[in-house]
């Protein structure tokens, strides 16, 4: 009997067992964040870079709860609205952690938080030149995703719907097209609202998903984190198993021969 088993995901020449990436924003506190992360069994976490508070030094530190030696930190450029800001932020991140794998995220406006693709492409070019391994948050536009890929980045991260919206994958056709054409890992980045959205992303053929708000804003984040873990595994297995064909009419599961008499 043929048995299909999964392979590890390779991002920027590094192998990971988990296909779920967890964000560290919006959690009520870092302790809850840590517990949710453990429940998710994710190996990569996104983090932001911000100014140190000069007046209140008693504030808890992320790294006191989530160990950068245990998890792969993926510094992001959330809050950057042009290529220069993003590059500047990631140069600081590189010095902070010593890693060169980063999540590039250049936004266009505060209302939609849609990526500014022109600035994203410009920033990716500069960062690749600087030796960064760029995982780029991007729109679900196959044409722009291809241009982004040609900058030499390491992964494509199309949105399912706006960041933090929880609307799920609004354009599965585009995501499918992006996956089909991509030579890089495709990581569904934004908009997932619940575990079935993550399964759907994986069934479409995404290599991984990133979830933050869906977990942090759930009533029970630790349970939701575990649910996402299972959903990503289930979705991936379902993708590998290759689903049945859809039919318009019913197709009986039980044989229709040798039925007892109806008369």
């Amino acid at each position: 009997m043929e048995r299909i088993s999964d392979i590890k995901i390779k991002i920027a020449e590094k192998e990971f067992s988990s296909r779920l990436i967890i964000g560290t924003g919006k959690f009520e506190n870092y302790e809850l964040n840590k517990l949710a992360l453990e429940a998710s069994e994710a190996e990569i976490v996104t983090v932001a870079i911000r100014r140190v508070n000069l007046t209140d030094k008693s504030l808890p530190k992320l790294t006191d709860f989530i160990n950068p030696k245990k998890y792969t930190f993926l510094p992001n450029t959330a809050g950057c609205f042009n290529a220069n800001e993003a590059v500047r932020t990631l140069r600081l991140a590189k010095d902070l952690g010593g890693w060169n794998m980063v999540k590039l995220e250049v936004l266009s406006d505060e209302k939609t938080l849609y990526p500014n693709m022109i600035e994203t492409i410009n920033a990716s070019e500069k960062l690749v030149e600087d030796g960064f391994k760029v995982l780029a948050y991007c729109n679900d536009d196959p044409v722009l995703c291809k241009i982004l890929e040609e900058t030499g980045c390491s992964a494509i991260m199309p949105l399912g719907s706006p960041i933090g919206s929880g609307l799920g994958i609004l354009n599965p056709l585009n995501i499918k097209l992006i996956i089909e054409q991509s030579n890089l890992p495709v990581i569904l980045d934004a908009g997932l609202g619940t575990a079935s959205d993550a399964s759907f992303a994986m069934e479409l053929g995404c290599d991984a998903v990133l979830a933050n708000s869906a977990i942090a804003e759930a009533k029970y984040p630790i349970l939701m984190a575990e649910s996402f873990k299972n959903a990503v595994i289930a979705g991936r297995q379902s993708f590998l198993a290759k689903r049945m064909k859809k039919k318009v009419y019913a197709s009986s599961t039980s044989p229709l021969q040798n039925l007892i008499s109806r008369s």
């Binding site: 924003g25 870092y30 964040n33 911000r50 100014r51 140190v52 790294t63 510094p75 992001n76 010095d95």
Partner: protein, 71 residues
């Protein structure tokens, strides 16, 4: 002889220091742990090994950053 003071901008806030402080002494004065931070002086990231060699100057724009939670 009176020590001259200089003004620098740290994380966007104007602060006064005496002359001839390097980044190590600046962190000491600010009571900031040098681990888990990165420093940029006038848009240039300063590697940790260079902290002791960089003397802060009048009107320097210094950013001291750390990791926080983010998506």
């Amino acid at each position: 002889m009176t020590e001259k003071t200089i003004q620098v901008f740290i994380n966007g806030k104007k602060k006064s220091f005496s002359e001839n402080n390097n980044l190590v002494s600046l962190l000491n004065i600010l009571e900031i742990d040098g681990n888990g931070i990165a420093i940029e002086v006038n848009l240039v990231v300063i590697p940790k090994s260079q902290y002791k060699n960089i003397i802060i100057k009048n009107n320097d724009k210094i950013e001291i950053v750390q990791f926080i939670g983010g998506g």
